[in-house]
């Protein structure tokens, strides 16, 4: 008889791992998890990228029976994980350049085909700079060739490794070192930026998903699913950066959750260019709840607050909610 799942806490969707069937349990709860990105690395406290990478790669390892090769773009993840002679990677791992992770991964995948290593799968990973900016040409090439690579972008919305400069993933109004909070329109300008999940979908690749470190089980599930199919796949993971965003280390998950709950970062999945699933917002919250926790938006909340531009950000969130049907 099928046992009904019992919810752990009233009013949440949190469920006790032990109550789930084996194949539904989180990879991180498995004593055989691979710790692919092992402890002892040098990420900052509360680093969303380290958390996201750990969950993503462990899930991919489990999904591939540990037959995985990872390619890394230059960036925080690369630097904090491999200051040799220490490496945190317990997976075959290569870092070549900032802008070529997708192409290097294509080469690794081609080599597996040439060698007849049918079961060995390839992941490329990078930050938003290495993905949406400098690595974009190689990424698009990998997509259009439908190379057998899962590319994961850990999006912390700026070049954090070089000291918090603007990328094409930096949101409007955000303060970075190159979009300082000065002048009449402080922070990053409105009307700019690049939506790479949508661009990935425009290539009509088999699978595109967004994920967040606030929804780690969902993140694992998406990675696991991605490893079950062939061809080019893309997962864009929202990873708060306490250092770059001016947020408290202990607020990383909270901020990531608020990004989802405001509608600023919609969680969805798409197959061959069509959105096929989205994560509904359970408790819609105003964007100010999200913005106020981050010093990069502090200039919006001076006396008087910049209602006009806060309103524009709220409009962005509302538009996402409408576009993806997040409240239905």
């Amino acid at each position: 008889m099928e046992e009904t799942i019992k919810f752990y806490q009233t009013g949440t969707f949190t469920v006790g791992n032990r109550l789930l069937k084996d194949d539904q349990r989180t990879v991180q709860a498995d004593m055989h998890r691979t710790n692919s990105l092992n402890s002892g690395h040098r990420a900052c406290q509360g680093c969303g990228e380290a958390l996201g990478a750990r969950y993503a790669i462990d899930a991919a390892m489990q999904a591939t029976n540990n037959r995985l090769i990872a390619v890394n773009a230059t960036g925080c993840l690369e630097v904090f994980s491999t200051p040799y002679p220490q490496t945190s990677w317990q997976v075959p791992w290569i870092h070549s350049l900032f802008g070529n992770a997708a192409a290097v991964a294509s080469g690794v995948a081609a080599a597996q085909r040439a060698r007849g290593n049918t079961g060995v799968r390839v992941i490329a990973q990078g930050g938003d700079g290495g993905t949406t900016d400098i690595g974009f040409g190689c990424l698009s090439g990998m997509f259009e060739r439908n190379d057998d690579v899962l590319y994961i972008c850990y999006d912390n919305e700026a070049y954090m490794n070089t000291g918090v400069q603007r990328s094409s993933a930096t949101p409007p109004a955000a303060r970075t070192a190159t979009t300082p909070a000065v002048g009449n329109f402080p922070g990053n300008v409105f009307g700019t930026g690049k939506n790479v999940p949508r661009i990935a979908m425009a290539h009509r690749i088999p699978y595109v998903a967004t994920a967040s470190v606030s929804n780690l089980r969902d993140l694992e599930r998406k990675v696991t699913y991605a490893m079950s199919i062939d061809g080019a796949r893309y997962i864009h993971i929202f990873v708060p950066c306490p250092l770059g965003w001016g947020s408290a280390s202990e607020d990383t998950i909270k901020i990531a959750r608020l990004a989802v709950e405001t509608g600023l970062f919609p969680l969805f999945e798409a197959h061959h260019g069509e959105v096929t699933a989205r994560t509904p917002i359970r408790h819609k919250v105003p964007v100010t709840d999200y913005l106020k926790l981050q010093k990069r938006y502090a200039h919006l909340f001076r006396n008087p607050p910049d209602e006009a531009r806060i309103g524009l950000i709220q409009m962005m969130a509302d538009r996402n909610i409408a576009d993806y049907g997040l409240l239905n």
């Binding site: 540990n66 037959r67 995985l68 090769i69 390619v71 890394n72 690369e78 630097v79 491999t82 200051p83 040799y84 490496t87 990677w89 317990q90 997976v91 075959p92 791992w93 290569i94 870092h95 070549s96 350049l97 802008g99 070529n100 192409a103 290097v104 991964a105 294509s106 080469g107 690794v108 995948a109 081609a110 080599a111 597996q112 085909r113 040439a114 060698r115 060995v120 040409g137 190689c138 698009s140 090439g141 259009e144 060739r145």
Partner: protein, 417 residues
């Protein structure tokens, strides 16, 4: 098997005989025919167990090659000119990671002004990238050098560029002897990587290395090239024994035994130089020439031995170190340290300008009389230069230079000399 074929086709057939497993291609003139040939062989089932990948840029071409090579397979690509510059970051990276990729350079000028014709500016721009650079004199040597290149690259775990003069060789139909698969298989064993991305034995490749070890890593890259100084002649000798013809090696001397004047050149230019040497020898000149095949590593000792008894050395260069003069000359002069002789740098054939026997004869006769400048530009049109300099001295808004020169000289045949 003897056949009359295009240089690019000869190179493609040589590559196929080397059993590459991943080939990445991005088109740029004059390299295109090589990768087209290989693409056809893969698609047609002639070249098996090989992945042919059409990439979106040269930067991606070298990056795919890096991934494939690090994953343990024999990897090849080809490019020219702007393409080599566009992949520059990955060119250095491949060498830094010690990946034995073989790449053909169909040598072509670098713009601006954009120019598709032959010179050596492209490969010379990467001379310090850590790649071995071999320059082919003929289509036969281009074919042979590629077979040697994989062996060399894989024995050293060091990438190799085989530089083949664009159009002059890549598009010329000549007779070549294409070896059999059995011959190549004996010379070139299957690739055994030193490092490999393997889930059964995970390693981290490309980690951050600080000041504590960086110098040592770089020294070992240099040391690898010094080892190549021994290995290149060794492989050339082995190749000759097995295939019955001489190709490659560090340098080759031509009629230098009692030469007072020795001309140094790279690549296909040596054919013309040797003809002029023959003509001048017939008239009683004591002249000879040296062809440098291995530019990286630079064969200092071999160069010194070949040139030390001359009275003068003329280095013919299809490239220009702007603001200095010669690039090849630097190495040649270093090889002659402490020896007193007259050294001349001649910049020739830039952007495909024909280097004719007539021009070379006049040049070498000037050299014999020691009437050359330290740095000479062969067949430089002095009228054009003085007119343009005067024009620029008289007005501020003179417009784009190259276009002004072309407007003045009008449509002319490229034949100079």
């Amino acid at each position: 098997m003897l056949k009359q074929t295009e240089g690019s086709r000869a190179v493609a057939e040589a590559i196929a005989l080397c059993r590459p497993q991943v080939i990445c291609a991005y088109p740029i003139t004059p390299q295109t025919h090589i990768v087209e040939g290989l693409g056809e062989m893969v698609k047609g089932g002639e070249l098996v167990n090989c992945e042919f990948i059409n990439v979106e840029s040269e930067f991606a071409a070298m990056s795919v090659a890096i991934g494939a090579s690090a994953a343990g397979v024999r990897t090849y690509t080809a490019t020219s000119s702007q393409g080599l510059l566009f992949m520059a970051e990955a060119v250095y990276n491949a060498a830094g990671l010690g990946l034995p990729i073989v790449m053909t350079i169909g040598n072509r000028a670098i713009g601006a002004p954009i120019n598709i014709w032959n010179d050596h500016s492209d490969s010379m721009s990467m001379r310090d990238a850590g790649w071995i650079q071999l320059y082919a004199e003929t289509n036969q040597e281009a074919l042979d050098l590629h077979i040697q290149a994989f062996r060399l690259a894989e024995e050293l775990s060091c990438p190799v560029m085989v530089c083949v003069d664009g159009f002059i060789l890549t598009h010329a139909y000549e007779r070549v002897d294409v070896p059999t698969q059995e011959q190549v298989d004996v010379f070139l064993p299957p690739y055994e990587p030193r490092q490999i991305l393997d889930p059964a034995d995970p390693v981290s490749i490309g980690a951050l290395v600080g000041p504590e070890a960086f110098t040592e890593v770089r020294y070992l890259a240099h040391h690898k090239q010094l080892r190549a100084l021994g290995l290149i002649p060794h492989l050339a000798a082995e190749f000759k024994k097995q295939f019955g013809r001489g190709s490659g090696g560090l340098i080759r001397s031509y009629r230098t035994e009692d030469a007072e004047t020795i001309v140094v050149a790279l690549g296909s230019l040596n054919g013309t130089v040797q003809e002029v040497v023959d003509e001048m020898r017939a008239r009683g000149s004591l002249i000879g020439s040296v062809s440098i095949c291995s530019f990286r590593p630079f064969p200092l000792a071999a160069s010194r031995e070949a040139l030390m008894h001359a009275k003068r050395v003329v280095v013919l260069e299809k490239c220009l170190a702007v603001g200095l003069g010669g690039i090849v000359s630097d190495g040649v002069r270093k090889s002659l340290s402490g020896i007193v002789l007259n050294g001349y740098t001649v910049i020739a054939g830039l952007g495909g300008r024909a280097i004719t026997r007539g021009s070379l004869t006049r040049l070498f006769e000037d050299a014999e009389r020691d009437e050359l400048e330290q740095v000479t530009f062969l067949d430089l049109n002095a009228d054009v230069i003085s007119y343009e300099l005067e024009r620029e001295s008289k007005a501020r808004r003179t417009g784009p230079t190259a276009e002004a020169i072309l407007r003045r000289i009008g449509t002319v045949a490229s034949g100079i000399g």
